[in-house]
């Protein structure tokens, strides 16, 4: 499997998370579901790869953008939770949405392609 194909996916996810709102993200995750059928076809587990990309994107934001000392730790203190729980919760929510949107788009695309091939 050529994992380099996933670098543009990671880049795309990162940029959309940075610039756009939630509905653009949903569109992007769905697009990835379509691409997993039409472009990244050799992948055995395309959805898991999309999930991994989403988690990596979240981790990158954690490392690069979330201000731990001046924001995240304070927020978690005041919410009475650990400073890990909040980022994990955000990543889990986004990952589930990514997985579901991609899965539906992927299945729909496959069925359309199968139907076309039959014709």
């Amino acid at each position: 499997m050529n994992y380099f194909k996933y670098l543009p996916v990671l880049f795309l996810l990162f940029v959309v998370h940075y610039l756009a709102g939630n509905w653009w993200l949903i569109a992007t995750w769905s697009l990835l579901g379509i691409l997993s059928v039409t472009w990244i076809r050799e992948a055995k587990f395309p959805l898991i790869n999309i999930l991994v990309m989403e988690v990596i994107t979240g981790l990158l934001f954690w490392l690069l953008f979330w201000n731990r000392d001046h924001s995240l730790h304070n927020l978690s203190d005041h919410a009475g939770t650990s400073a890990v729980l909040l980022p994990v919760a955000a990543i889990v929510i986004n990952s589930i949405t990514a997985l579901l949107c991609a899965a539906v788009a992927m299945i729909a695309t496959r069925r359309i392609m199968i139907a076309r091939n039959r014709n």
């Binding site: 979240g58 201000n67 001046h70 005041h78 986004n94």
Partner: protein
């Protein structure tokens, strides 16, 4: 099978997207809040720990922010300081400022969505947003210096908001799916009205009317006495001839002996209020003057007050402001210190109307039918449909209908807003005379102002605009068939004291005075807290600062002494349960970990239950308040009424049995700790609530912890002509959930570890400064 799986997946995905993208109760969607960059985790707190220079601001000022987040502002002139205060208020509390102003303007639903509709319906009838704009315009001519000050403040707020990057915005905007809107200088008046509402809006007149109508004088005096006597008014002493004598009678009639009161009336939170006391050098160890102030309000995070230090040539101020109000409400300047408590004056009126049965938009006034005016208003609802409303107005105010009852609501604070100008003058006062003159036009909410100056003088003025009531009035509804007079007690007749011979003054929301004018919105209430303060101050000991600080933490409830009296009176020899025998020797200190104090709260619960039974027995809706009930129990009465007997002893026996049974059922002092309370986030966000179980106290103790709590405490010491102060905020300086200053002072507050204030005229003398902001023209 495979098809069913796909259908299930699609359905589940749809449900997931619906749930994670819906805006429930005005809140942002889960998906938006969890966004990596635009959600709450991507937001940074404001504390930068750096030096910042801002040019072309139109102001010349320097701001130094210390480790508690308290700004120390040095302006070249008043407007410069106002600009800087606006900048800091916006930086730390802009969401709160908008929330408060939107509430009073009747525009809360536009900010919070559906949860704000009920509030908007209530507030829009007063039409305060338009009045605020009008009042600000009038200041241009009447007080141009204040007008310029408020406009400079507005610029400071709006400059901060317009320059704030989205990544540094208060997380509450992301959580509530809202963006900051520009500030208007006139919002300051909306905030005054908001505070007046919190402290001086009453709605229990129908219940009091029922008592006045149904109960004979003897029964009413026994159970619901109006006048607490001349025990502990804030101001005591001889006065001129009374203008209105409280002979306690109903002005109108609404209920008959057998009629039922089904009208809803809102009970007032009796814990709201405050303590202040001031003692001169005759009571202190080293000849100092001490002035203390605790403000008892609903404890939320952030709370309503904001610590602030600012100066411009000739003026230096330190104390607490309200975000949106660039003025010191409690604090000091270089000559004078002051502290406030709520007066609780009766400034709400409900006028019983006679409606034309043929034309429901007409009411009888001064011998003829008058037609009500109508005003249409719209409630804009975020993420929802606008709601249209029509309000009918009489000469008194808006019409209120409750079933078949129609009354007009006259809330006097809605008719003026002069407190802002009074505080502006108060900040600049330098002695007793200028202090008095500053308060001459003070209106709402009525407050008891404690005073101390650098020359060692002390004083108190109960200030406000008290409407004159008909002779003999003592609560209940008023006659809506006669035009209102709109007359008020003259300022020079208001209760005031200066350098009293006893050497101290205090107020704790008790009556301002007795036997002169009618003031109190409450009947026979709040007696134990003033009594405790008086007991401590009247003691011959000489206080030092540490003792004064400890006094603010006092949790001794004097009603415990009365309970012991009751036990002695009704059970002098009889052995009671262990719980009650324990109470005989208890000192009345309401420590949360002490079994006696826990049982005492069960006694109070039992007293409430039995008090409700009495109300049922005598067919009125209002149960006796605790102070009234204790008064009745101590009276040892056996008054016959309605075929039964109002027997104090019998009711006390019931309380004894009820408290025992409650305590047996819930005999787990730790789990059933009645002293636990919660500090809620100001918009009641789930997850940001803090439980407190180690403070103790009640509504009767100096350290009030019940429905309200001392949200800030101040201690001012004047010695040798110099003013020093110590203060603490119950939560923290900022309203930002992701800032370290958000809940920073909470632990100190619980122990009343007041921090010394940095009241320094020269910025070089400031310590523990973490940020510097330089504003230039």
């Amino acid at each position: 099978m495979k098809k069913a799986g796909i259908i299930l997946l699609v359905l589940f995905t749809g449900a997931w997207l619906f749930i994670t993208n819906m805006h429930y109760q005005g809140l942002n969607s889960i998906q938006n809040i969890a966004g990596y960059y635009n959600g709450i985790l991507g937001l940074e707190s404001t504390s930068s720990g750096k030096e910042l220079s801002l040019h072309k601001t139109g102001a010349e000022a320097r701001i130094f922010i210390d480790t508690l987040g308290i700004p120390h502002i040095y302006g070249e002139k008043a407007e410069d300081a106002a600009y800087a205060i606006g900048y800091m208020h916006a930086r730390d509390r802009y969401f709160q400022m908008e929330l408060t102003a939107h509430t009073a303007a009747g525009q809360l639903a536009a900010m919070l969505g559906e949860p704000g509709i009920a509030s908007d319906k209530h507030w829009q009838v007063f039409d305060l947003a338009a009045k605020a704009d009008h009042y600000l315009d009038s200041l241009k001519a009447t007080q141009p210096d204040l007008y310029q000050y408020l406009k400079a403040y507005e610029r400071g707020v709006n400059d901060y908001i317009s320059q704030e990057p989205a990544t540094k915005r208060d997380p509450l905007y992301a959580i509530w799916h809202y963006t900051p809107h520009p500030w208007k200088a006139s919002n300051i008046f909306l905030i005054q009205w908001y505070m007046s509402y919190q402290l001086a809006f009453y709605d229990d007149y129908i219940n009091r009317q029922e008592i006045l109508d149904k109960l004979p004088d003897t029964v009413r005096q026994l159970l619901y006495p109006v006048d607490p006597g001349n025990k502990l008014a804030a101001i005591t002493g001889d006065k001129a001839t009374p203008l209105a004598s409280p002979t306690e009678k109903a002005v109108v009639s609404l209920f008959h002996a057998n009629s039922t009161n089904n009208y809803h009336a809102q009970e007032f939170n009796r814990s709201l209020g405050s303590n202040n006391w001031v003692m001169d050098s005759s009571h202190t160890a080293s000849g100092e003057v001490f002035l203390c102030n605790d403000l008892h309000l609903q404890l939320t995070s952030p709370n309503i007050l904001y610590e602030l230090h600012f100066s411009w040539p000739g003026i230096q101020e330190y104390g607490y402001s309200i975000p949106g109000v660039p003025l010191i409400l409690t604090g000091h300047n270089e000559n004078v210190a002051w502290g406030i408590t709520n007066g609780g004056w009766d400034v709400t009126e409900q006028y019983l109307l006679k409606i034309n049965p043929d034309k429901p938009d007409q009411y009888w006034l001064d011998g003829k039918w008058q037609t009500m005016t109508e005003k249409k208003s719209v409630i804009h609802v975020k993420d929802g449909q606008d709601e249209n409303h029509t309000t009918q107005y009489t000469v008194f105010g808006p019409l209120v209908k409750k079933d078949s009852l129609a009354y007009a609501l006259l809330w006097h604070p809605a008719r003026s807003c002069d407190a802002v100008a009074a505080f502006w003058k108060l900040m600049q006062c330098h002695d007793w005379n200028s202090f008095r003159e500053a308060l001459r036009h003070y209106d709402y909410p009525s407050q008891n102002f404690a005073y101390a100056d650098v020359k060692g003088n002390i004083g108190m003025i109960c200030a406000g605009k008290m409407p004159l009531k008909p002779a003999g009035y003592s609560g209940g509804l008023l006659d809506g068939t006669v035009a209102p007079r709109f007359q008020y007690i003259d300022f020079d007749s208001l209760p005031a004291a200066y350098n009293p011979s006893k050497g101290y003054l205090f107020s704790a929301n008790q009556a301002p005075e007795t036997g002169h004018h009618y003031y109190s919105s409450r009947w026979f209430d709040d007696l134990y807290r003033p009594a405790r303060i008086n007991e401590m101050l009247a003691d011959n000991r000489k206080f030092d600062r540490e003792q004064v600080r400890e006094m603010q933490l006092d949790i001794k409830d004097l009603s415990a002494d009365e309970l012991k009296t009751l036990l002695q009176k009704y059970y002098p020899d009889k052995k009671l349960s262990d719980n009650w025998e324990m109470m005989r020797n208890w000192d009345g200190v309401l420590s949360p970990d002490n079994k006696s104090s826990v049982f005492f709260m069960f006694f109070r619960r039992a007293a409430r239950i039995v008090s409700n039974e009495i109300a049922k027995d005598i067919h009125v809706r209002s149960s006796l308040r605790f102070d009234q009930f204790m008064n009745f129990l101590l009276a040892d009465s056996k008054m016959p009424y309605a075929g039964a007997s109002l027997d104090s002893r019998a009711y006390f026996e019931k309380i004894v049995k009820t408290a025992d049974s409650l305590f047996v059922v819930l005999n787990k002092p730790v789990k059933a700790n009645p002293y636990v309370f919660h500090v809620q986030q100001m918009t009641y966000l789930p997850g940001f609530q803090v439980d407190v179980n180690d403070v103790g106290g009640s509504d009767n103790t100096i350290n009030v912890n019940y429905g309200a709590h001392p949200v800030i405490r101040t201690l001012v010491q004047i010695n040798g002509g110099a003013i020093q102060s110590w203060m603490v905020n119950a939560t923290g300086q900022t309203g930002r959930l992701n800032d370290r200053n958000y809940f920073q002072q909470f632990v100190s507050w619980k122990k009343n570890e007041l921090h010394p204030t940095q009241f320094n005229k020269k910025p070089e003398a400031l310590q523990a400064i973490t940020e510097r902001i330089h504003l230039t023209n």
